[in-house]
């Protein structure tokens, strides 16, 4: 136990309060408004349900990273939930494989309004390297309505956070 406490003490706080991307004036503005928006429009918490609709799994790795100690997106009131019924946002990765088409629709239908959909990664935005085929429906918007696209293959944690912040701004106007 003492070793664990010692290790935690020496690791210190890794979460980056002043990461480089906050130097970006645009994101800086978003960042400072984020908590306010989450508080005002999502009652202090924004719940995201991530669904892999056919990705290569690299997008998932980076989504994991934003929950890790360096990014810790939860400090902005954003957290990932296990059920679409608890979610405000559906974060979809991958081209939608035909075998996942119905599952993606059903997941989206299970969400309560207002609901938002983010297409995460190039595949989700435009089909990416896999495109549309006998096995793939291509972009997420071919299957369910999409509110925001985050490009990248995979989007980096910073791009993901920017995207989620941008969606909040958009949602605020609705």
């Amino acid at each position: 136990m003492l070793r664990i406490l010692k290790r935690i003490y020496h690791s210190g706080l890794l979460t980056e309060n002043e990461p480089d991307y906050l130097q970006d004036p645009e994101v800086q503005a978003l960042g400072s408004e984020l908590k306010t928006v989450v508080d005002a429009h999502f009652n202090g918490s924004l719940a995201i349900r991530a669904v892999d609709a056919g990705s290569c799994n690299a997008c998932e790795l980076e989504i994991h990273a934003i929950n890790g100690p360096h990014y810790d997106i939860e400090r902005f009131g954003v957290h990932f939930v296990a059920s679409p019924r608890h979610a405000d946002v559906l974060l979809v990765t991958g081209p939608v494989s035909r075998h996942m088409e119905t599952a993606v629709r059903r997941t989206w239908r299970a969400m309560a309004a207002p609901r938002f959909v983010i297409a995460c990664g190039d595949c989700a935005c435009n089909g990416g390297e896999f495109g549309s085929s006998y096995a793939s429906c291509g972009a997420v918007e071919n299957v369910i309505p999409v509110d925001l696209q985050i490009a990248g293959c995979p989007p980096s944690p910073v791009q993901l956070m920017r995207g989620i912040l941008a969606l909040m701004q958009k949602a605020k106007k609705i």
């Binding site: 290790r7 296990a82 896999f130």
Partner: protein
């Protein structure tokens, strides 16, 4: 013993069974030996191979001038042989290898769905990769099947897949997925349980099938590398390497020593990054979040260095046909050396804690046991195999550049439980650090001016085999070029084809709530096997 010394005995034993091998060669699928087999002898070649202890590693097939050509890969002591047979006709029928080799089960079903080959004597005739995106009498890998599909509207859920029912008092079923609660890939698990212990688990995969084999056809070398980099995102370096190696062998191109050293470095970086993530995640699945946070922090630093070195956190699209996109200069080498020292300092005390923590021991020791016999039967490689006594490591058994010049020991255990799979990962991190330092030493003495990439001139109609040890284990890739030098056939066999069936055995008798930790300790790829 010399390479392929055993092959003469195999051929002699085949002859005893009245199987003649009409032809074969050592070039077209080098380093594997190619043997042409009569379709009638297809069952016998497997029976004899099994008697001699060969490991069954892959099957693929494609249509060539109305013939269906099947190729099976078998391995003995790190030597690969490819058995090939051709069948004519619209409804090819051939003996199944599954009654002899359990490992062949799902890959044969995949081929039945994709190419319309009927495997006689297969114990499980149900579909595997096909859900409801195409009909039972359509085969996507046939030449006349359009890649764009037949325009069959919305794809319904695959709700009538015949899971075998189970009966008995107090016995119940838990269907899970395809959409899972966590941030992971989709697939369906059907648990049958009595009380808490799992009586039976059946996996139903294929949800992320996105037509990779079909999409590969007609691409050029660069296009194939981009696709291969996305077979399984966590193995992007290993899969691109395997595909590029197959292409380079098909084109008789030898890449510069520097390029293979850099590939080796990147592949070991990928291994370390994934093992770090997995060790944290295994501990997290038994409620020990401390390890998860520590490992994630180390992994994040590691990925940031990958970004600095290669311009991509996961090193995607860095391995290219003919070499690599990046050079690692003096500054890069210094960064790496310092980073290796740093990681070693970090993981030493961390792993000490993990390996000496009673509540972790309580949950990980003896959970999720895979016997060495099961592992051998299922042909499992990588950390799952190594934790159950299977010393399969291509870097050692069938070394390719740069590993042919390096020495290291393969981590091995017979314990077969979750704790063993975690321990193997820890040991592999240490051995990767050593390997990477050795590679840096050699790189130090390589001329700065040496190129990192050479041009690839396609040899029309040629084929090649890629054999790479990725972080999950053995990857086998096959590439055949058409008469214009474009891809005519591509198949990549991810190690997950074998670790998924292993998971079905691993969970038996474990309690349902321990499924996540058992699953994490295996961490098979959905995307890599669904293709």
């Amino acid at each position: 013993m010399n390479r392929f010394d055993w092959l003469s005995e195999y051929l002699a034993r085949l002859e005893d069974e009245h199987v003649v091998v009409p032809s074969g060669n050592t070039q077209s699928l080098a380093p594997a030996h190619l043997l042409i087999i009569d379709p009638e002898d297809w069952a016998k070649v497997a029976v004899v191979a099994k008697q001699m202890g060969l490991r069954w590693a892959a099957i693929w097939g494609d249509e060539q001038d109305h013939d269906i050509v099947l190729t099976v890969v078998l391995v003995y002591q790190g030597d690969y042989i490819a058995l090939r047979t051709a069948m004519t006709g619209d409804h090819p029928v051939i003996a199944s290898h599954t009654p002899v080799y359990a490992a062949a089960d799902r890959m044969e079903r995949h081929l039945a769905d994709m190419l319309g080959v009927q495997f006689d004597g297969h114990p499980d005739p149900r579909r595997w990769t096909r859900h409801r995106a195409w009909e039972a009498d359509e085969y996507p890998l046939r030449a006349h099947f359009p890649a764009a599909g037949q325009g069959n509207g919305l794809t319904p859920a695959d709700s009538d897949y015949p899971f075998p029912p189970i009966q008995g008092s107090g016995v119940y079923e838990i269907p899970v997925g395809p959409v899972h609660a966590g941030i992971i890939e989709p697939g369906h698990f059907r648990f049958q349980a009595a009380g808490e212990p799992i009586l039976r688990l059946e996996e139903r995969l294929g949800y992320v099938h996105k037509g990779i084999e079909k999409r590969a056809i007609g691409r050029d070398a660069e296009g194939l590398a981009r696709l291969a980099a996305r077979i399984s995102g966590d193995s992007t370096v290993a899969h691109s390497w395997a595909a590029c190696q197959a292409l380079e062998r098909a084109c008789h191109v030898k890449i510069p020593a520097k390029a293979s050293l850099i590939r080796g470095l990147l592949c070991e970086r990928e291994r370390v990054a994934n093992h770090l993530g997995d060790i944290g995640a295994i501990c997290n699945d038994v409620g020990f979040a401390f390890a998860q946070m520590q490992c994630q922090a180390l992994r994040e630093q590691w990925l940031r260095h990958s970004l600095t070195l290669t311009g991509h956190r996961l090193m995607m699209d860095v391995v290219l046909p003919g070499g690599v996109r990046v050079d690692i200069d003096q500054a890069g080498r210094e960064l790496l050396r310092a980073e290796h020292v740093w990681l070693r300092e970090q993981i030493g005390p961390l792993f000490d804690i993990l390996n000496d923590h009673p509540s972790l021991e309580d949950r990980l020791l003896s959970s999720g046991y895979l016997s060495p016999a099961s592992a051998a039967e299922l042909g499992v490689s990588g950390y799952v195999g190594k934790a159950s006594g299977q010393a399969v490591d291509l870097r050692k058994d069938s070394p390719y550049a740069p590993y042919s010049r390096l020495s290291f020991s393969v981590a091995l255990s017979e314990a077969g439980d979750v704790a063993a799979r975690m321990a193997i990962r820890q040991q592999e991190i240490y051995s990767s650090l050593e390997l990477m330092n050795e590679m840096l030493d050699i790189l130090e003495n390589t001329a700065e001016s040496e190129p990192t990439q050479v041009k690839l001139a396609p040899i029309l109609g040629a084929e090649g085999l890629g054999l790479i040890d990725g972080w999950r284990g053995e990857i086998i890739s096959h590439v055949r070029l058409d008469d214009k030098g474009r891809i005519a056939h591509f198949f990549a066999r991810d190690p997950s084809w074998f670790s998924w069936p292993a998971l079905e055995r691993i969970v038996l008798g474990n309690i349902v709530p321990d499924f996540p930790v058992c699953n994490k300790s295996v961490n098979a790829s959905y995307s890599g096997q669904d293709l």
